[in-house]
Amino acid sequence: MMEKPVEKKPKTRRKAEKPLDRDKAKRYTCIVCPACCDLETDGVEVNGARCPKGEVFARQERVAPLRVITTTVRCETPRGLRMVPVKTSCPVPLALIPEVMKQVKALRIPKIPAIGTLLTTGSSSEPVEWVVTGEVG
C-alpha cells in the first residue's frame, strides 16, 4: 500500500518580498496549479508567487478575473441525445459567464464532433471559441 504523497514544493528560492502600495494591495489564492500559492499584489508588484504564472494570474485577477468555462453541448443523434464536453479555448471574463453560458446552451450540433474540434458561439464581433474535450460514442 502506497503512502499518500505530500505535494512537493518547487525548489525555487523564496523570493524577497517586494514592498506594495498598501492602499491598492489585494490578496488572492492562485488557482493555476495545485500549489495554491498565497498571493498579494497592488497591481504592479506581486508577492508570494512561486512561478511566473502566479504573478500573471494575480495581476489579471485584480483587474478582471478570467476563467475557463467547461460545459456540455447537446447533440441529437439518430441513436439518441449525446452530451459533448467542451471548454473555452481561452479564459473568459468571470462577469460574462452567464451570457456566454446562455449562448453555448443554445448551440445545437448536428453530429458528434471529434475531440479537438473548434466551435464558436457569440457574435462575430465578440466570438467565443470552444474546443471539444472528449470522445463521445
Partner: protein, 309 residues
C-alpha cells in the same frame, strides 16, 4: 469450470488481470507492459475505458503528468493513446463480481459468465460515494437526494439537471465541482454545508466553484434532518459553533461526504492485498489528483513486471 471461448478472451491464464479500465487500471497496464509482461488483461464494466474521468468535464487534470491543464475527458483520451500503444488486451462491458484467493476472477459479459486466472490480480476499481443512508441522517426519504457523482453523471452524460434549488452537503471536491456545474446549468446553490472545521476539497476548487459564484461555505454545520414528503423541501441544520439550529429551504440535496475505496471484491472473498493481489489508484486510497493515480499505477505495473511485487 466454464471453458473460455477463444473469441472472447485470448487466454485462460494471464500474467496480470487488471479489474477496472479507468486511469489506475490503464496505468498499471502501461507499467506492466513496459516491464515486459506479455499476458495482460484489463476487464472494464462499462462499454468504454476511462472510468470516472468520462464524466469529469472540468479542468484540473494533467498539470503534473502531462504538464498541461486538461479536462478529465481530455486526460482520459490522452492517456488512452499511451495505453493503446502498450497493446494490452481489453474486454469491456465485463463486470467482475468475484475474486478468489487462488487468483481466479469471475466476470459477467453479454457472452456469458467466465472464469479466468492470473499470477497477479490488480483491483483498480476506484471508489464509491458515501451516501445519506450511510450517515443515517434522520428525516424522510423524498425524491431529490443524490450523491454528487450521480448528479455529475446525470448532468454531464445525460444532459439532465436534477433540481433548481440546491444545497450541497459536504465540501468534498465532487460537491464543489457540481455546485458550479449546476449553477452554470441554471440552478441556484444555497450553500455548501461542511460538518468539519475545514474544507474537505482543494482550495482552488473552493475559489473557482464557490467564491466565483457567491456560494457560501458553512463550516462546522451539521445536517440534522431532511424534510419533505414527496420531494425535498428543506433541511434542518445546526451551526456547531453556536449550537443554533435553522431550516434551509431547497428542492435538491447533493451529497459529497467522502469517497470509500471500492474493495468489496476482496471483502466478500475474505482476502487481503498481498501475494499476488494488489490494489491500485483510488481503490487503494483516495488520491487528490489523477496524475498521482497514473504515476502510482505505472509504478505498480512496472514492479509486477520486474517481479518485485
Amino acid at each position: 469450470m466454464e471453458c473460455c471461448r477463444i473469441d472472447m478472451i485470448k487466454h485462460d491464464h494471464y500474467d496480470v488481470i487488471i479489474i477496472g479500465g479507468g486511469p489506475a487500471g490503464m496505468a498499471v497496464a502501461v507499467g506492466a507492459s513496459s516491464a515486459g509482461l506479455k499476458r495482460i488483461l484489463v476487464l472494464e464494466r462499462h462499454p468504454r475505458l476511462g472510468g470516472i474521468l468520462n464524466q469529469c468535464i472540468h479542468v484540473g487534470f494533467g498539470l503534473r503528468y502531462f504538464k498541461e491543464e486538461l479536462t478529465g475527458t481530455e486526460y482520459a483520451a490522452r492517456y488512452k493513446k499511451l495505453f493503446q500503444q502498450a497493446g494490452v488486451e481489453v474486454k469491456t462491458s465485463s463486470f467482475v463480481h468475484k475474486v478468489s484467493d487462488r487468483k481466479q476472477v469471475t466476470f459477467v459479459c453479454p457472452e456469458g459468465e467466465l472464469f479466468v486466472s492470473a499470477d497477479h490480480i490488480v483491483l483498480a476499481t476506484g471508489c464509491r460515494e458515501r451516501t445519506r443512508e450511510m450517515l443515517t441522517i434522520p428525516g424522510t426519504r423524498p425524491a431529490g437526494i443524490f450523491t454528487a457523482g450521480l448528479a455529475q453523471e446525470m448532468v454531464n452524460i445525460h444532459g439532465i439537471l436534477p433540481g433548481k434549488n440546491v444545497v450541497v452537503i459536504g465540501s468534498g471536491d465532487i460537491g464543489l465541482i457540481m455546485a458550479r456545474r449546476v449553477v452554470l446549468e441554471g440552478a441556484k446553490v444555497q450553500a455548501v454545508l461542511e460538518i468539519l472545521d475545514h474544507l474537505s476539497g482543494l482550495v482552488r476548487n473552493k475559489i473557482q466553484c464557490l467564491d466565483d459564484f457567491g456560494i457560501p461555505l458553512y463550516l462546522q454545520h451539521e445536517t440534522l434532518e431532511i424534510i419533505g414528503k414527496d420531494r425535498v423541501e428543506a433541511i434542518r441544520y445546526r451551526d456547531n459553533t453556536t449550537g443554533r439550529e435553522n431550516v434551509m429551504a431547497c428542492d435538491t440535496l447533493l451529497f459529497s461526504v467522502g469517497l470509500i475505496p471500492e474493495r468489496d471484491l476482496l471483502i466478500d472473498a475474505g482476502i487481503d492485498p498481498g501475494d499476488g493481489i494488489h490494489v491500485a489508484g483510488n481503490a487503494d486510497y483516495v488520491h487528490d489528483l489523477v496524475d498521482w493515480v497514473t504515476k502510482d499505477g505505472e509504478k505498480l505495473g512496472r514492479s509486477l513486471g520486474n517481479g518485485n511485487a
